[in-house]
């Protein structure tokens, strides 16, 4: 029987695990979170179940079905709180047979002492680590009360915590609507949702070839559901407007919004001030590329993992599914996961899935066309706007260093300014720093903020213990 290791238990990883099992493989499914479902199906822990999950989550029944399968099958080992901190591709990893990579994993609550260390290999690996929020900086975004939309949604979905009494949601992309819905469900009064893209841009992304959009009917229905939700609650959804500043004494008390031109530059004279105690911002998603890069997978010019129609990466035995192959939402993740899982286990992918995948790829392209970040946003920055929050590097210092050194390469600029060197290792600011300094990551595969050989922090003591051979085990 073949073995498949699936990294990430969001929609793509869950679908991959079940599909691989259905094709006859022994499966190990792991996730760094304490439950299954990933960010999309984040929910209350099992000790505190809620009957409201089904109303809070789209496709909750799909999640329950997948979770039931992976939890109830002896052929699927499920590891939660399992953090992959390194992918090895050295000769040592190959000796066990199977693909030329091994995952080094720490199991246990993050930051805790004495996490269990494991080294996992398998005949095939499916990478489905997902994406994290991309948030563009703006003056005041460091104030308490400003949340990435993903964090706000995680609090609302996972903890039922309202981020504030009165909030605005701003940024770009279809994610704004579910975030606003999560907030209102948690009891926050959402007084506005601001989409940066203007109507013509949105139309360019969403209108052409509507028949293709129908093939991803789930997503259409989901968006229609959000729209109905907002109409019912009378939440204004404004196009071509952004939060360009947050103000307050020690925490957010008000935000300034402004109309944007087609390039996302604020139009002077259109500013409006709104009193709120929370702001949730999302400008899209950044794929988590450290694991595929560490595994040696080729990355495309659009900075997603390159896969073929079978979700195969450039590395033999390594498959990729979900947001690391393109930001396409839950339907794309599910179908890609099914294909990857089937193929990783040596099976054939159903033709219907292959057709559906073409449609979801179309959807990802539409999202990028309609909501992709435009360069004009940088004009709402000020010299003292902090760009890298971990190391507190302001925009002005970054620009001054780039000018003084005449440097465009990211590595040097990071080391001269410390931007991106902090605890988040440029997960939050990397793409922004690249954009602000004119760095061109396409110039060199290594001059990118996506590369993190150490994929997660590890205590020095835990690392030192590996100097003696670990309990080598295979998935």
């Amino acid at each position: 029987m073949s073995s498949v290791l699936v990294i990430g238990a969001g929609p793509a990883g869950l679908a991959a695990a079940v599909a691989a099992r259905d094709a006859g493989a022994r499966v190990t499914l792991l996730d760094s979170g304490d439950g299954l479902g990933g960010q999309y199906w984040r929910h209350l822990p099992p000790q505190r179940p809620s009957r409201r999950e089904a109303r809070l989550h789209h496709g909750w029944s799909a999640f329950e079905r997948l979770q039931g399968r992976v939890r109830g099958d002896d052929g699927i080992e499920v590891l939660t709180e399992a953090q992959v901190w390194a992918i090895e591709t050295a000769a040592a990893a190959r000796s066990a047979g199977g693909p030329a990579i091994a995952a080094r994993v720490l199991i246990g609550p993050s930051d805790a002492a004495g996490r269990e260390s494991r080294r996992l290999t398998a005949d095939a690996v499916v990478l489905a680590p997902g994406a994290h929020d991309r948030t563009l900086p703006f003056p005041g975004w460091h104030l308490p009360g400003v949340f990435s939309a993903g964090a706000a949604q995680a609090l609302a979905k996972g903890e039922r915590i309202a981020v504030g009494r009165k909030a605005v949601v701003a940024g770009a992309g279809p994610f704004l609507l579910p975030v606003a819905q999560s907030l209102t469900s948690a009891g926050t009064d959402v007084i506005g949702v601001y989409e940066a893209s203007r109507l013509p841009t949105l139309a360019r992304g969403w209108l052409p070839h509507p028949q293709r959009l129908l093939r991803t009917a789930h997503k259409g229905l989901e968006l229609a559901g959000y729209a109905a939700h907002h109409l019912a609650r009378r939440v204004p959804y404004r196009l071509g407007r952004a939060v360009v500043e947050a103000r307050g004494d020690g925490r957010v008390e008000e935000v300034v919004t402004a109309r944007l031109d087609a390039d996302w530059a604020p139009i002077p004279g259109t500013e409006r001030t709104v009193a709120v105690d929370a702001v949730c911002v999302s400008h899209g998603f950044t794929p988590r590329l450290e694991l595929p890069i560490a595994a040696g997978c080729a990355i495309g010019p659009d900075r997603f993992v390159l896969v073929d129609a079978d979700q195969r990466t450039s590395v033999g035995g390594v498959y990729a599914a979900g947001e690391i192959t393109g930001i396409g939402g839950v339907d794309a993740a599910l179908v890609e996961g099914r294909i990857a899982g089937r193929r990783a286990a040596g099976g054939e992918a159903p033709r219907a899935d292959l057709r559906l995948r073409r449609a979801t790829t179309d959807l990802a392209r539409r999202i990028e066309t309609a909501h992709g970040i435009r360069s004009g946003w940088t004009s709402w920055l000020r010299g003292d706007t902090v760009v890298c929050r971990c190391e507190e590097v302001p925009y002005g210092r970054l620009r001054a260093a780039a000018a003084a050194t005449e440097q465009t390469a990211l590595r040097s600029l990071k080391l001269t300014t410390r931007a991106g060197l902090g605890i988040c290792q440029a997960r939050m600011c990397g793409r922004t720093v690249e954009e602000l300094t004119g760095a061109d990551p396409s110039r060199s595969a290594t001059d990118t903020s996506d590369r993190r050989p150490l994929a997660a922090p590890i205590r020095l003591g835990d690392l030192a213990e590996l100097a003696t051979p670990p309990n080598g085990d295979s998935a």
């Binding site: 591709t89 050295a90 930051d111 001054a400 003084a404 440097q407 040097s412 060197l421 590890i458 590996l466």
Partner: protein
């Protein structure tokens, strides 16, 4: 394009050479196949050390460098002004520690030999060592304090040297790979061809670090530089608890060994950014840059011997780089005796950051015939490619 000197490589060595030559009035063009200060320069710790060097020509160079760095740092700061980030030069001193009975005697003997060669080296009692480094493992068996050891932020230092070179007239061409040499009828090197242009010059300086061998080959010559990989761990920011560069006594053995297998010894220090840097391993595995957990684990284990409190500290990053390794452990700074017009400034292994300034001065003095602008004159003899210890390693002696 016409220049007096083409410098190949915009790392810290190339930058220092370009600066020294430009300040002597030479028209300098620096060519790099990528971006400045982004390869070996960006992958080390920024060590300016005398403590790890045995008496001999490299120690003489390091002592001169230790004397020059404060002057160089002041010059650069005055020239480049507040708009330029500070190079973080700090003469923080080093403490070498032995943790075994067997290691204590050789460490003290080594320090005595260095002291005889002019190094400031002072034996510390355990109590003195713990007064300087309160969190050091109290089980130490010997400790030596080297106040001349210093630290610099290597990328900022290289960028500063390069900016200073530009102000003296040097041009910097990035993303331009050198693919061949031009020579006159006598065989003298008279310029280089890049993938996009031709540069005529009176002299060509190879300062391409571990890639110097490949560059020399493209120019029709050979230099026995090989890559040696080093790996460094970086912790999360924390309250400062390490105050010097602290090494275990094995460090000397690792730098001086030709054994290709993995060698690790600990170098632990704090940075102005609040992180702790932990090095360092040395491996001859070609240009293989893949992460190897066994190497990281060994580096971590040795660091914990020095500073047990680090056990609970999270490591947030590891970086590795290739150092230019010479078979006889001495850099090459001088003209190729077989190829007139072709010069080298390379092969410093892990000491290139510290030796950059003196290397630039030493190269410039030989190439221009001028007295070095800073410090005293170093005998260039031991650093020539024609030295006997390199003869077995040259394709054409």
């Amino acid at each position: 394009m016409r220049a007096d000197v083409v410098v190949i490589g915009a790392g810290i060595i190339g930058a220092a050479c370009a600066r020294a030559l430009a300040r002597e009035g030479r028209r300098v063009v620096v060519v790099d196949r990528g971006a400045p200060a982004s390869a070996t320069t960006a992958r080390g710790e920024g060590n300016l050390l005398v403590s790890d060097k045995a008496p001999g020509p490299e120690l003489d160079l390091a002592l001169e460098a230790a004397a020059q760095w404060p002057l160089l740092a002041a010059e650069l700061a005055a020239e480049l002004g507040d708009a330029f980030p500070p190079i973080e030069y700090e003469r923080k001193g080093g403490i070498v520690v032995a943790l075994t009975e067997a290691g204590a005697g050789p460490l003290r003997a080594f320090a005595r030999s260095q002291a005889a060669a002019g190094v400031e080296a002072r034996d510390l009692t355990a109590a003195e060592a713990l007064a300087l480094e309160p969190d050091l493992n109290p089980a130490l068996t010997a400790a030596v304090h080297y106040p001349q050891d210093a630290q610099v932020q290597p990328v900022i230092a290289a960028e500063a040297l390069l900016a200073s070179a530009r102000r003296a007239g040097a041009r910097v061409l990035t993303d331009a790979a050198v693919v061949g040499a031009f020579r006159d009828a006598t065989g003298r090197v008279t310029g280089v061809r890049t993938d996009s242009t031709r540069i005529d010059a009176d002299a060509v300086v190879v300062a391409a670090g571990p890639w110097s061998g490949a560059v020399a080959a493209a120019l029709g010559a050979d230099v026995p530089v090989r890559p040696r990989r080093g790996t460094v761990l970086v912790t999360a920011r924390m309250r400062q608890r390490v105050f010097h560069k602290v090494y275990d006594g094995d460090y000397f053995g690792a730098t001086q060994s030709a054994d290709a297998a993995l060698q690790t010894s600990s170098v632990v220090e704090s940075t102005p950014g609040g992180t702790v840097l932990i090095g360092s391993s040395r491996q001859q595995i070609g240009f293989d840059d893949r992460l190897d957990v066994a190497v990281l684990a060994q580096v971590a284990q040795k660091a914990l011997r020095l500073f047990p409190f680090l056990e609970t500290v999270p490591v947030i990053r590891s970086y590795g780089g290739f150092r230019p390794y010479m078979p006889d452990h001495l850099p090459v700074v001088g003209e190729d005796h077989r190829h007139p017009g072709l010069w080298y400034a390379t092969g410093h292994e892990g000491a290139g950051i510290g030796l950059a300034g003196v290397t630039g001065a030493l190269l410039s003095a030989q190439l221009t015939g001028a007295e070095p602008a800073l410090g005293s004159v170093i005998d260039p003899g031991p650093f020539q490619l024609s030295r006997p210890s390199l003869a077995p390693h040259l394709e054409v002696p």
